[in-house]
């Protein structure tokens, strides 16, 4: 089969940039819709309170866990936003910002997993318990996905140095959008699962 | 590639595909328990069943199940029975399972049997405490529903592997039903006795050959 020149050779970089930007926003919307299902489950089951078993015994997963986890997420989102912001300028904050964001994100996941071992209730203890376990668990999984993405950028920075930064930027901008939306989901989850219940 | 080679390839592909699909679908569709005829003849035939808490053999050693005694007197793992039409059938159930309790107490009353009664260990009963029920033998289309009293939980030498012997702890429930016109009538159990399945109605409770069956009236 006859072979032409690679398509990408004739393809200017802004195509890649635009794809990442648009794709990231659609992905963020998809993520939001995924968690809207759990948002709906929370309010729906809470309102129905069928058999009085929504949260019969006033289960409380404990602020001592919820607040640190939430703060790690917020910190990671914020630091990464700052890192990307600096990437558009002198990139001074990129390395510290992105590394710290990765660290905090991982900390959140670790804390979440440890919390399960300390949890005073099990998934079978009513509607609230079910929603809590499902929502936080899948949230952790999504965080891992985002952190993988973040790790690729960190790794690329380490491997190729500042020369790679222009190439990393579109991807970083995209990640910022998704990570921000996921952070909002985290905020909602924190308010509903720890404060409202 | 020559035409012959292509033809060969296609033929082989078609053959493999067809074989796979046939095996895959038809293979599992034709697994049905054997039909067991009621013993005796004349105006009244006999159907002897036993229920066991755990079948004890593959494919599902832990499943609760019915068994039936064939005319040669050997226990067969089946729930498809053949009985004559417009006749009386004396059903005797040897109950080796402990009580689970009825979800809907209503099924604690024998219905559709001759005289509306059942005989439990020699005593004629018109009703059963729903909590003592271990299973029911119900043919809804014939209006038949009989609760089966369970063995006491603390009874000695309980049976765990089918077929159970008369030496092991059991209760004997017998009743007579009148078969109607020919046809296939499904029967089932109304006690949520499928251990482990949420709501107790999965697995054996929804599988022919275990707690569901067909009464072939011919």
């Amino acid at each position: 089969m006859e072979v032409h020149a690679p398509a990408d050779a004739t393809e200017p970089a802004e195509v890649f940039e635009r794809n990442m930007a648009v794709g990231a926003r659609i992905a963020a919307a998809a993520v939001a819709f995924f968690f809207i299902a759990f948002l709906f489950a929370f309010f729906y089951l809470r309102a129905l309170d069928s058999n009085g078993k929504w949260n019969q015994h006033g289960l409380d997963p404990g602020q001592a866990w919820g607040l640190p986890i939430f703060l790690c997420v917020v910190g990671s989102v914020g630091l990464f936003a700052a890192a990307v912001w600096s990437l558009r300028r002198d990139a001074a904050l990129w390395r510290p910002g992105s590394f710290a964001a990765l660290g905090l994100g991982l900390a959140a996941v670790v804390l979440q997993s440890v919390q399960y071992t300390q949890l005073a209730f099990g998934p079978a203890d009513g509607g609230y318990a079910s929603v809590f376990v499902g929502w936080t668990g899948l949230y952790a999984v999504f965080m891992l996905g985002v952190l993988y993405w973040l790790e690729t950028q960190v790794a690329q920075t380490l491997r190729e140095g500042d020369a790679a930064l222009p190439l990393i930027r579109p991807s970083a901008e995209a990640l910022r959008v998704v990570w921000f939306v996921l952070g909002l989901v985290g905020l909602v989850a924190y308010i509903l699962l720890y404060l409202v219940r | 590639m020559s035409v012959a080679a292509r033809a060969l390839a296609v033929g082989a592909g078609v053959a493999v595909g067809a074989a796979l699909i046939a095996y895959y679908i038809v293979g599992y569709l034709t697994v049905t328990p054997p039909v067991v005829a009621a013993t005796g003849s004349g105006p009244q035939t006999h159907l002897t069943l036993q229920t066991v808490a755990s079948y004890g053999h593959d494919p599902h050693p832990d499943w609760v199940s019915y068994l039936v005694k064939d005319p040669q007197g050997t226990w067969v793992h089946s729930t498809v029975f053949r009985v004559p039409a417009h006749s009386l059938v004396k059903v005797t159930v040897l109950q080796y399972d402990t009580a689970t309790g009825l979800r809907n107490p209503f099924w604690g009353q024998p219905e559709g049997t001759v005289g509306g009664t059942m005989t439990v260990d020699g005593k004629v009963l018109h009703q059963l405490d729903p909590d003592l029920a271990s299973h029911t033998f119900a043919i809804p289309e014939l209006g038949v529903s009989v609760p089966l009293k369970g063995v006491a939980d603390d009874a000695k030498n309980q049976c765990s592997v089918a077929p159970c012997t008369l030496a092991e702890a059991h209760t004997t429930v017998s009743f007579v039903i009148r078969t109607g016109k020919p046809g296939h009538y499904r029967w089932q159990c109304f006690v949520p006795c499928a251990a482990g399945f949420i709501l107790g109605f999965g697995g054996p409770m929804q599988s022919l050959g275990w707690m569901d069956g067909v009464l072939e009236v011919v």
């Binding site: - | 604690g108 219905e111 119900a138 089932q188 109304f190 949520p192 251990a195 022919l208």
Partner: protein, 285 residues
């Protein structure tokens, strides 16, 4: 228009409209008079006849729409074909604001009219239309507070019925009084079923933990088939039975007689409740 001056353009539009008008004029009466009486579910109850009317009116209204497009397609297939084997192009028409706007307005009017008419039936002329309305019925027929309550209990795989006003006795034999408003309280003990009394025009899902209310007022004495209309497991197809609409007096005597015959068993039969929550067998054996 890329037509040569003087060439006669056949008046396709007029032809199509004439054919359509004629066919509709024939078809609509046929639908109403011939098909109409046979449309389900019949007139055994107020709700059933409301549904029959809805079906009839929809069939009658949709017939001309069906005909319009079919006539057009048929006409196009017959007379807009390419003559000969050589490929010719048609006139390059890209749209016509007038036609598009008319189409939009007409369809919108029909659709909204249908929705309004359906809502009127559902809310006013036959409140609830025989459908299950959940624990707090939004559309209640007049006198619904005096309605005779009958609880329908779906379980794998049989229907049973409780009569709370007669001591809550339970039976497998459904009877309801004629010319009396009845409130079916449909619920389930295990999975989701759907109580479908076909000729009575009642359909209500039996959902565990939900008291699904459907009102019906039977007009004629007679019997009707009951089926399960929601897949509920192995014997879903066998969850059928027969219900009877009987004269009010017969109903009362039958009910009180049942109540007495079941007296000895009533100590076992749990108290009547709008919903039942069987605990999932502690999820183990």
């Amino acid at each position: 228009m890329s037509e040569v001056r003087g060439q006669r353009i056949p008046r396709h539009g007029v032809r199509i409209l004439v054919v359509w008008a004629v066919l509709s004029a024939i078809a609509i009466p046929l639908v109403l008079l011939v098909l109409g009486p046979h449309l389900p579910p019949g007139r055994m109850s107020n709700e059933a006849s409301a549904q029959t009317d809805a079906n009839a009116r929809l069939t009658a209204l949709l017939t001309p729409i069906l005909l319009l497009i079919l006539v057009f397609l048929a006409y196009a297939v017959v007379s807009f074909r390419q003559e000969g084997s050589a490929i010719q192009d048609g006139p390059p028409m890209r749209g016509h604001n007038g036609v598009e706007l008319t189409w939009l307005l007409v369809t919108a009017t029909i659709v909204v009219a249908l929705a309004v008419w359906g809502s009127y039936t559902l809310v006013r002329s036959s409140p609830g239309a025989g459908g299950g309305q959940g624990p707090s019925a939004a559309f209640t027929p007049s006198g619904s507070s005096q309605a005779v309550p009958i609880q329908v209990i779906g379980q794998q795989w049989a229907w049973s019925y409780r009569y709370p006003t007669y001591g809550g006795f339970e039976t497998r034999d459904l009877r309801l009084p004629v010319n009396t408003l009845v409130a079916f309280h449909v619920t389930s003990l295990d999975v989701t079923h759907s109580f479908w009394a076909y000729r009575l025009g009642v359909k209500a899902d039996a959902v565990p933990g939900v008291d699904n209310i459907a009102f019906v007022k039977a007009r004629d004495v007679g019997s009707f088939t009951i089926r399960c209309a929601e897949l509920c497991g192995l014997w879903h197809g066998h969850m059928f039975g027969t219900g009877h609409v009987v004269p009010a007096a017969d109903f009362r005597s039958w009910a009180s007689q049942q109540q007495t015959t079941q007296q000895p068993f009533s100590k076992y039969l749990g108290p009547y409740s709008r919903t039942y929550f069987p605990l999932p067998l502690h999820r183990a054996g």
